[in-house]
Symmetry: D2
Subunit: 330 residues, 4 copies
């Protein structure tokens, strides 16, 4: 059985997911919608799909599922609309920047029984999946401490930062999801230390650009996260899980395997420096997982609830920075 899809949003990520669908047997891209008609047209043409508007896609009987890759502010509304229209839903993170709004949206999803997957792409990175697989295979025993290093090559434009929800809701939220996934237990406390070290303009926009976070769980597991909006050497994305029997880690991904040696030492290539190339496989894998879940072969994961929980941790981190105190999660 073929899954027939509608794509809402023909931007950067929309193109990636559109291509993933086109390359997947058992999936067909039926229609594309975008506020910019030319973008919708170009993407639709590329994959032999039609251009339809959002309402038309929601109403289309020949569409089983939608991928929401629009700007964040309409995610929740589109999810609700699609849920009510009986579509399965893949939505890029976050559902919304406001936890109350997310809760309302998830209520609609629950009432309609809609299937909703939230796009925390890093869970599908082959390197991080390999770490998770080792944990599940018992290779490192009980998980005790998780360390996540997550640094962007360069900060986004300041006007994006202003409407991004801030470092914790925009960037660290991925790390909060990773921490939950790797800890295997919900965080109970959050402490975040944060500074404006990279660019004063970020501080003027009301945000921080450098942060360190500690999460603890009820059983005493600890996660620490180190963030920066700037890393001169590329996109620094590492995880490390210390367990009772050993350590599992995923190192960074380099541009090439080149090494040049001379008097000054051995120089290896810098890291991939763009999230779309760094996570190319992850994006493909998450769409494949969504399609597989729709085929009934696997449960939906990560869910809307995963999205909400990561956001609540982000909110707690914001609160922690504001008050300089440790925040306990409900």
């Amino acid at each position: 059985m073929t899954v027939r899809l509608g794509l809402l949003g023909a931007g950067r990520i929309g193109k990636v997911h559109g291509g993933a669908i086109a390359a997947t047997p058992g999936a067909t891209l039926v229609a594309v919608a975008d506020a910019f008609p030319d973008a919708a047209r170009a993407l639709a043409d590329r994959h032999g799909a039609e251009v339809r508007d959002v309402d038309a896609i929601m109403a289309s009987p020949d569409i089983d599922a939608v991928l929401i890759t629009t700007p964040t502010d309409v995610h929740a509304t589109m999810i609700e609309q699609a849920a009510r229209a009986g579509k399965a839903i893949f939505c890029e993170k976050p559902v919304d920047l406001d936890a109350g709004r997310v809760r309302g949206c998830l209520k609609v999803v629950a009432e309609t029984g809609a299937k909703l997957m939230v796009g925390f792409n890093r869970r599908f990175d082959p390197n991080f999946m390999a770490v998770k697989a080792e944990i599940e295979a018992g290779a490192i025993g009980d998980v005790e401490m998780v360390s996540i290093t997550s640094r962007d090559p360069a900060p986004p434009p300041v006007d994006y930062i202003a409407r991004s929800g801030g470092l914790f809701r925009d960037m660290t939220i991925h790390d909060f999801d990773m921490a939950r996934w790797l800890l295997g237990e919900e965080p109970a406390t959050v402490y975040a230390a944060a500074s404006n070290l990279v660019d004063p303009a970020i501080g003027k926009a009301g945000d921080v650009d450098s942060a360190s976070v500690i999460l603890t769980t009820r059983s005493g597991r600890i996660a620490q996260i180190s963030n920066s909006r700037r890393a001169t050497y590329g996109y620094d994305q590492r995880i490390e899980v210390h367990g009772s029997k050993g350590l599992a880690s995923a190192e960074n991904v380099r541009l090439t395997t080149l090494e040049v040696a001379n008097e000054a030492g051995y120089r290896r290539a810098p890291l991939l420096d763009f999230f779309m190339t760094r996570y190319t496989a992850a994006y493909a894998n998450e769409i494949a997982a969504f399609l597989k879940a729709l085929a009934g072969d696997a449960p939906i994961s990560p869910t809307g609830d995963d999205g909400l929980k990561a956001l609540l941790i982000a909110d707690a981190a914001v609160e922690s920075v504001r008050t300089g105190a440790v925040v306990r999660l409900a």
Copy 2:
């Protein structure tokens, strides 16, 4: 201007190149031919192309260039046919296993003025390209010694070995091309030591499976190559160039960046173990280079002559093993 292509051979590599063309703006796959009609049909359908037979493709005025990805034994004939038909030609290595036949074919290419690129894909591997770029930028000074390690994960079926031309013409030929490319000078002598250590069946088929080769150039540069038909840890593909000012190398490519540590030490992931995944980027890059050369932006490289020269080194290596002596190249 769009380059219109015909694909001769819809097998493993044909599919890779067909996909590369489909993904390239400015190139169109017009027709596919294959001895197995179903294979041709499946590939043609996938990319919106037609199925035509070889003669039809050669005669098609709506086809500018052909990609020859058939079995080796018809390469030379197809090159000649395409050259006479005025098509530009990309042909998988080797042009032929017989040097005399290659010379005859290249004569036709020269007479017709056809453009011919031979598919030594490794020149287009991003890691090896990075090494070459460092050499050209002067980072290691004058090239003195080249070391190539090239080991397959597992030997091919014995019946393939029997008609492959043997280790040197089938597998080491890639390393001979790499050596020429990295040395920046033609080899003048060849010494090859070879054994049958991996599987006695390979020896019975008249071939060797383990080899070490030394090439020297007139100015005293030296290349050494280490080959095996079996490497339990994956597809071992490394190069290292020692120069007057330093060393440039390209390490292997791993499945993931996973590392697991415990009492036994630190375990990293094994290597990619299949040439098509290991050289995915190289295959895409070489087709891009072919299309770029057709657009007139760059000379054709590697050429038919590059194919001939690598084959002559392979022939000398065979002779060296047969006689146990060093062979001087003409």
Copy 3:
């Protein structure tokens, strides 16, 4: 001019320092004292020194400086005694486990004008020194974030833990000193999360064995420390400093450079698993630095004040774990 030394304590570290003195031109080990006469005798004989008791060493006119390598509880008293006797002093960390007692001791040192160096050996590890040198050379720009991973191979005996002052005063104190040294600025806040995950007996002894700490400075620099009393893969001792222009790090030290590859992947050797082999060079370097400072070529560093400051951070970490709150340093 030769520096004539008395060694107070002929245990494990006493032997290391005694050997370092013996190997240093310009230094002579004159006398050794130890509560166990046989230990003193063996070490004295080995290096051609005499056995004297502590009071005799303090009173010896032929001794310029003392090395205090006794158990912690007599450090402060011996420092005071030596200071009053006009000796230069090298004392293993800590001066005392009680900050008030340290302050009293340092007052005596100040009043007598004695030279006092405290043995934070890690500042003299060649790998960490190389990181510090890169920072000072400007290679990574302004320091922004320091990450320290510090895990022992296995916990000490529980009865040692009971009198050790606990994880933060015994083990993390080294990391607090490293953090101060690398941050280049005093920490202003301390948050420590800690658990008893390794061995319930440690918890019963009133201590924790797993911890994560965040320090922040007034200008917004951040340090994070990850500790465990057990690492199956050896003695995990890494530092990483993220700056405005790059990242400087020191990796772990392995038993050998062995790597074995097969189907399961690439296995490297585990880490050195004993602090005395891991920090062999550091111990030699710190004694050399002490002797050099006595010769007037360099200021004493780290000082008694460095010892006090690290202890105050440790006290704050203990308080943070007790209250679950962030602690501000005076």
Copy 4:
């Protein structure tokens, strides 16, 4: 029982071995001889030994064994003298640069029943020992191919080269011994390609400075060696053994574990660049092994015959370069 030793030669290596003896319980350095009386005196004083001349040492009833660390040209004579005097003998490689002379010397050793160990220090490097241990433990199955990279940081003075016996007898001889040790089978053929690329003065002195060698054994095992007299990045000393079940390798040893990352990539420290620091542990281990063998706990290894066999391979390599042909060993 204590082994009482005489040291013949108080130069660079003599000092290293003298220190090793002094640090070994169960061994005593009784006397030192050197053509330079001051050198002998300084070393003797340092370790509480006497200065005696060579004849006196040979005649001393209080000396059980001698360590020969003189210039090469008197090695064989001293070995014979010591053998006749009933001393056990450790001699730095080579026994002599002339195979006939070595044979004569070993005949005396055999007739007298003297114990003779030849100082191929690399067999005692912990990294290479770890590779050997993995082979012996069966971790890589049957040995098939050995690859040795051996490059000096910089060429020795040209006047040393002139009397060194040339690249193969002076430098590669270590690699020939390693190859024999790792192959586990005697080489049957030798092919050497060599050039003068590093410094024309070396060529004028009649030697080469860059070489690649292939050894083959009767059963088909293959070793390849890559040499250069100059490596800008340090002392390049690597081995790699490819077997039926996997690959064992020993990587280079770096000055520190520093890594600095920025836009240009990741820069690690260069290699140790001096044979005495690179092989510090190896020198200590080989003396320990000699003393252990004298104590009867282990056979002597490597023996005089090992020294001869490595020299015969070196002679064959010289012949191979001279004739441009493969040389078969007797």
